[in-house]
């Protein structure tokens, strides 16, 4: 692997261990401020939930805050907050995470709490019913009662993917949520929440040897259980363009989303696509912004992403590179689709100017540092990167190679990647009609 030449490349200490029960432990000390983040990632997300139980992985995440063998409802939340910390959990395509950001003196407690949580939810029917209501209200406030609430993330994945694991709505159908039972909760826990299917990450102000001792003391007594067999989440190569439309009754301006299937995670092409994202669609200097907003005035903003629920480094492929624009009635969706293709087409034919590629690399480098330096939950951004590489690629050290992977991308590889992945026949176009009067 070519080493990056930049002194600003993300480089962090990484120490990896595996406990007797299969739990992987990743430690990354950083003594610059008295803060620690403790995060546990379970390798189960929306993609792996049972058919007929859409939304269950997410509902289960809520239930993991309701009670554990040693802590009753809300006790974990109170313990974190009354020790000056903050916490959250989230459900993504491939994993579900639980984390605390605490003053460094609470490291011991945070590890103890997560080890207790790993022993399993201890909850009542009333607590299940309560969180079912909370989750339904989450879906209402984020999706059902909002203009563009499911656009494009749920709408596009339902249409662009052919494999159920990828295409179904991970927030869940209300009927599936209604059907979820305590028996489902136990079965899901038994299948997916074993130590061998999890990674514990600790980032921040601590001594590695001390944190490892604590991790062993609290987590190692949890019995081993086999990790679940991996699911087949592959998608076939798309050979024909596909077009879809839907009406959003709450939206008052039309919109269009264009999604392309991306290269497999970890490949050179994947990093080339990452640079294509930077130069095409990231920031006001990007080619799409310059053409579609500045020059053609087709919309006020072009949004693009590689992962509807995060960024390119914290999800497994299949993923979609998606460009979104909300526009006025007097601009057609086709005008935007054609303009996007007009910007992309030259990239398939000729190699890009070296200076433009270098700027894309700089943007990717800064973007990665911003992710690692996350301000909302200090230290969590780095913990998330480490956990993602450990779970999805088998080695957390991968975070230290990201910059070199971008550095190794050649102009020719960018052209080849554009040819195969940004071809019109790999494209899914979703037109959103505005159902609400302006």
């Amino acid at each position: 692997m070519a080493a990056s030449t930049s002194p600003f490349a993300l480089q962090v200490p990484v120490e990896r261990h595996r406990l007797a029960n299969g739990l992987r432990v990743v430690l990354s000390p950083d003594r610059s401020a008295p803060v620690v983040c403790v995060a546990v990632y379970y390798h189960v997300g929306m993609r792996l939930e049972p058919q007929g139980r859409t939304g269950f992985a997410h509902l289960f995440e809520h239930l993991m805050f309701q009670g554990s063998p040693s802590l009753g409802k809300m006790e974990l939340v109170r313990l974190v907050q009354q020790n000056g910390g903050t916490l959250n959990g989230s459900t993504r395509y491939d994993f579900t995470n639980y984390f605390e950001v605490m003053p460094a003196n609470a490291l011991d407690l945070a590890l103890w709490m997560e080890a207790d949580r790993m022993r399993g939810p201890v909850i009542t029917q009333a607590e299940l019913d309560n969180q079912r209501d909370v989750v339904k209200n989450e879906i209402r406030v984020n999706v059902l009662n909002q203009p563009y609430g499911s656009f494009p993330w749920i709408d596009m994945q339902e249409r662009a993917y052919t494999n159920w694991h990828n295409s179904h709505n991970g927030y869940g159908d209300m009927a599936d949520l209604d059907a979820a039972s305590l028996a489902d909760v136990q079965a899901f826990f038994d299948s997916y929440y074993s130590p061998a299917n999890a990674v514990l990450v600790v980032v921040g102000d601590f001594e590695a040897a001390h944190a490892l001792d604590l991790a062993r003391r609290y987590f190692e007594p949890i019995p081993a259980a086999p990790a679940p067999a991996p699911a087949d989440i592959s998608e076939p190569r798309q050979a024909e363009e596909r077009r879809f439309s839907r009406t959003d009754p709450l939206a008052n301006r039309p919109a269009v989303a264009i999604s392309y299937h991306v290269p497999e995670r970890g490949t050179p092409q994947f990093y080339a696509l990452g640079l294509l994202h930077q130069l095409l669609a990231s920031g006001d200097d990007s080619l799409l912004h310059q053409e579609i907003v500045q020059k053609r005035a087709l919309t006020g903003e072009v949004d693009a992403s590689i992962n509807f629920l995060g960024h390119m480094h914290n999800a497994q492929t299949p993923l979609l590179w998606t460009v979104v624009a909300v526009h006025d009635d007097d601009v057609s969706a086709d005008a935007i689709v054609d303009a996007v293709e007009g910007v992309i087409a030259p990239l398939r034919d000729a190699t890009m100017d070296a200076a433009v590629i270098e700027r894309a690399r700089t943007k990717a480098r800064a973007s990665l540092l911003r992710t690692a330096g996350d301000s909302n939950y200090p230290r969590f951004g780095l913990a998330d990167l480490l956990a993602s590489f450990e779970l999805l690629e088998g080695d957390a050290n991968g975070v230290n190679e990201i910059d070199a992977r971008f550095a190794a991308v050649t102009p020719e590889l960018i052209r080849e990647t554009a040819r195969e992945y940004l071809r019109p026949t790999n494209r899914n176009v979703l037109v959103l009609e505005a159902g609400a009067a302006s």
């Binding site: 000056g84 003196n105 207790d116 209200n137 301006r253 006001d284 006020g300 700027r359 800064a366 540092l369």
Partner: protein, 440 residues
């Protein structure tokens, strides 16, 4: 699989604020630098005392038009050149405006901090305001306004602001669609010339960077910047009184609620204690209102109360999107929790936990560049200095159960609270009439 007993948490080490360095800039501008953070990035903000309060009555959102216009570059660099220069440093331009400030900000790789600081000053001093961009920006602004009106949270925010501030600047947050048709390049440029200048500028830098080089670059970039006109002294006053300001949204699955009233401004002696009170009542996940309407009743997903601070216009507000059928029940529970705290001091142990949460949050924020810059802006806006930050933890620790009850009784009076409600009128009207007269 036995788990050892729960470990005790040792006392927090004494927390030392990262040092702040203050420098003067030519023309009367100010510069504050704080070295903090874990990654080699510098967060840079140029805060200009130019906001919506500086607008005439018929010019609501002209400030937004101006912020969009600022993305069009400087006299020396057009939009593409400006964006490209910043991108080559790893940054992008963010422009935000609120009642009092326009903030130009970016985050760049550490080595580029001096050049990025100079670039923001260049933009503030000499924005390009190209004539030929006006129609495009106006089209975008029309779309933004239209789309905002489809968002329940925006409509509730507008209704609350109108309830509290009426036609005063703090209440004028949404223009009539025809009003923005009068926006022109000349009006944008006139606003900028009238409302900015070195004396109205505060450059703030936090993160990892070479401080002397930033000071030098900022001084050079500010050289010859005219001081500008002193801002007009603010006059604002908030209204209170129970009434329901209803925005009908037929068929809505949820009611979007804001319940609020004016409270004390940050310089007030009781303000920090009111923050602790708010965290106990509704501001934290483990707070009383959230435990009640989310974790017990399941009425809502993300309820929260906040103190929204601005000079002469600070207000407390509880925000929640609740299932339509339990709109009245949610109001009952929210007011019930407020009344309970007015009537009875909280247990010592509950308050101790909240104090530790508020103190811990402060420590986390002071260690993070962007949150630290938010804090510096807060100090500026309210005429506070480093003494506020230095004494903050001690003031939080000193709050007593009796303080919390007294502050709730004094400042959080349910009979004075306005209710903004965006929801299905036909479904909620009967539910909410016990809580006030309906306007709208």
């Amino acid at each position: 699989m036995s788990l050892p007993p729960r470990p005790a948490v040792p006392p927090l080490a004494a927390f030392t604020l990262p040092p702040r360095r203050h420098e003067a800039l030519p023309g009367g501008g100010r510069l504050t630098l704080v070295e903090v953070g874990t990654v080699p990035l510098a967060s840079i903000r140029l805060v200009l005392r130019a906001g919506a309060v500086d607008l005439a009555e018929d010019a609501t959102w002209l400030d937004r038009f101006v912020t969009d216009y600022l993305r069009e570059g400087t006299q020396d660099r057009d939009a593409a050149a400006f964006a490209g220069t910043l991108a080559a440093m790893g940054g992008r331009l963010e422009v935000d405006v609120d009642e009092l400030s326009t903030t130009l900000s970016t985050e760049v790789l550490a080595e580029h901090a001096p050049a990025a600081a100079a670039l923001l000053i260049e933009l503030a001093r000499a924005p390009r305001f190209p004539e030929d961009a006006a129609e495009r920006l106006l089209t975008d602004l029309r779309r933004t306004l239209d789309m905002a009106q489809a968002q329940p949270s925006w409509l509730a925010y507008v209704a609350m602001r109108r309830a509290l501030f009426g036609d005063q600047p703090y209440g004028r947050v949404m223009p009539a669609p025809e009003a923005i048709e009068s926006f022109t390049t000349a009006r944008a440029a006139e606003f900028w010339a009238r409302s900015t200048g070195a004396r109205r500028a505060h450059l703030m830098v936090a993160g990892r960077f070479a401080p002397d080089a930033v000071v030098e670059a900022a001084r050079r970039a500010s050289d010859g910047w005219s001081p500008g006109v002193e801002p007009t002294p603010l006059s604002a006053s908030a209204r209170e009184g129970r009434a329901i300001h209803l925005v009908d949204r037929p068929g809505a699955e949820q009611s979007t609620l804001q319940i609020g009233l004016p409270v004390i401004d940050p310089p007030h002696d009781d303000y920090v204690a009111l923050e602790v009170t708010n965290a106990l009542l509704g501001g934290a996940f483990a707070s009383r209102i959230t435990l009640n309407i989310r974790e017990d009743k399941g009425y809502t997903y993300s309820p929260r109360s906040v103190i929204s601070a601005r000079p002469h216009g600070t207000y407390w507000v509880e925000v929640a999107d609740v299932t339509t059928a339990v709109t009245g029940a949610s109001l009952h529970e929210i007011f019930g929790e407020i009344d309970r705290l007015r009537g009875e001091a909280p247990p010592e142990e509950e308050l101790r936990g909240v104090i530790n949460y508020v103190a811990g949050s402060f420590v986390l924020r002071q260690s993070s560049p962007s949150a630290l810059l938010d804090h510096l802006e807060f100090l500026d806006r309210h005429g506070l200095d480093g003494g506020y930050s230095a004494s903050y933890l001690a003031r939080v620790q000193a709050v007593t159960p009796a303080d919390v009850q007294r502050l709730t009784a004094t400042h959080l009076r349910p009979e004075a609270m306005a209710i903004a409600l965006v929801g299905d009128r036909a479904a909620v009207e009967a539910q909410v009439t016990p809580y006030g007269s309906i306007f709208g």
